[in-house]
């Protein structure tokens, strides 16, 4: 019998190695795997490349991982989010590398990796500083920039419900980066609010089919709201 459930967040991060690339789900609090992140801090892997929309807030979760000096490089669209002291400090000291990617391009690069595509041409950024040095060509009458697929070793996300086959269902704004991220990493683990029996998620309501997921772990949400909810994206 297939059983993708795990007993602890420690198991979820046990395989993370120094230098690994990690897709970290969530946009703001919804979809952020806070418990796995805390386990990852404790696990100790370093020189990580983390892909996430922002740079985390405060000194917990992603902010904590960065604060602890475990992140060598961040690939993000909005690392200037409020509360990003941990990142800002390391960045200004030159202790962390930043690859800044427009949000839609970031999502699409991750999706491309999961879909087996090598890359795509997008109009976003053409002629701006963010396209500097990138290949471009005119397609459909517009200048477009070539962007490559973004693959990773691990993806960690949070979903709402899940089953032992790895099927996931999200609630409201939790889908965000999590849907593409689950497709684009060698090893995918989802924190879930509730483990349901197989068939407990209607086939119409499965947002991430189990084929994309290696493990699920039922665990309460991180007690803190990890992202400061104030205006600023």
């Amino acid at each position: 019998m297939v059983d993708k459930t795990l007993g602890s967040c420690e198991e979820a991060v046990a395989g993370v190695f120094d230098g690994a690339t990690i897709l970290l789900g969530g946009f703001g609090d919804p979809g952020l795997p806070g418990q796995i992140l805390e386990a990852l801090r404790r696990q100790g892997a370093k020189n990580l490349t983390v892909v996430h929309n922002g740079s985390g807030g405060g000194t917990h979760a992603l902010g904590g991982l960065i604060h602890d000096g475990k992140v060598r490089k961040l690939i993000a669209s909005f690392p200037s989010n409020p509360g990003n002291q941990s990142f800002q400090e390391k960045y200004l000291k030159g202790e962390i590398e930043l690859e800044l990617v427009p949000q839609g391009t970031l999502a699409e690069r991750i999706r491309a990796a999961g879909a087996g595509l090598g890359g795509f041409f997008t109009p976003t950024g053409a002629g701006t500083d963010l396209a500097a040095g990138k290949e471009s060509r005119v397609l459909d009458g517009r200048e477009m920039v070539f962007e490559k697929a973004l693959h990773a070793d691990f993806a960690f996300v949070r979903a709402y419900r899940g089953d032992r086959l790895g099927n996931l269902n999200y609630r409201m704004a939790m889908r965000n980066f999590n849907v593409p991220m689950c497709t684009a990493a060698k090893h995918v683990v989802a924190e879930i609010d509730e483990l349901v029996p197989v068939g407990g998620i209607d086939p119409e309501d499965v947002h991430t089919p189990g084929i994309f997921v290696d493990h699920v772990i039922e665990v309460e949400r991180h007690p803190e709201y990890l992202i400061i909810t104030t205006e600023g994206r």
Partner: protein, 230 residues
Amino acid sequence: MSLTREGIAYRVACDLPDGSYVNLGIGIPTLVSSLIGKDKEIFFHSENGILGMGPLAQPGHEDRDLINAGKQYVTLLPGASFFDHPTSFSMIRGGHIDYAVLGALEVAANGDLANWRTPGEKVPGVGGAMDLAFGAKQVIVTMTHVTNKGKPKILNKCTLPLTAPRCAKHIYTDMAVIDVTPEGLVLREFAPGLDPKTVQAHTEAPLRVPSNCKQMDVPANYQQTAQPVR
């Protein structure tokens, strides 16, 4: 006289047609959603996968999983939908969003928009700004007409790094409503108490003043006698 921040947002709200799909940037644009007339259905999009957002959630009624792209707790209107980031940015990049209402640091006469690199910023961040500026059918810029040092923000050429070239179609400020046309900037309206000459004096790029240029029709509560808003 000039418009308040709410006044700028109100003036934009008046011009959004019934049935529009609209994405609101942070700052003044955010204020637009609560100023839409009751006679219109406008569908607000949020980058993080929501179409059909309603007002901000009342204190005590926040849902942890329902935030907008500015990380504020929001509500839904009937007919709303949820989706993932690739779909959300397909809406933006694919030209399905009718209007992106964005703040700006500088706008040029040809529609060049600079709104993502702030002078003196410590950490850069682009978020969805470029996708919106490149992708929306029409980009509406809302901002104060001049900097807090009184310098024009509507320029012959942007000095800051561009968000997107030639994207702005309309500019709404505390002093004026300006259209970006192939022939240059056209002053459509000026704030109550001002005149085209005064607006031009605060604008680096030349403004054409057509015969139908007129004073804005904005209720008194959206006007202020003080300096233009900073």
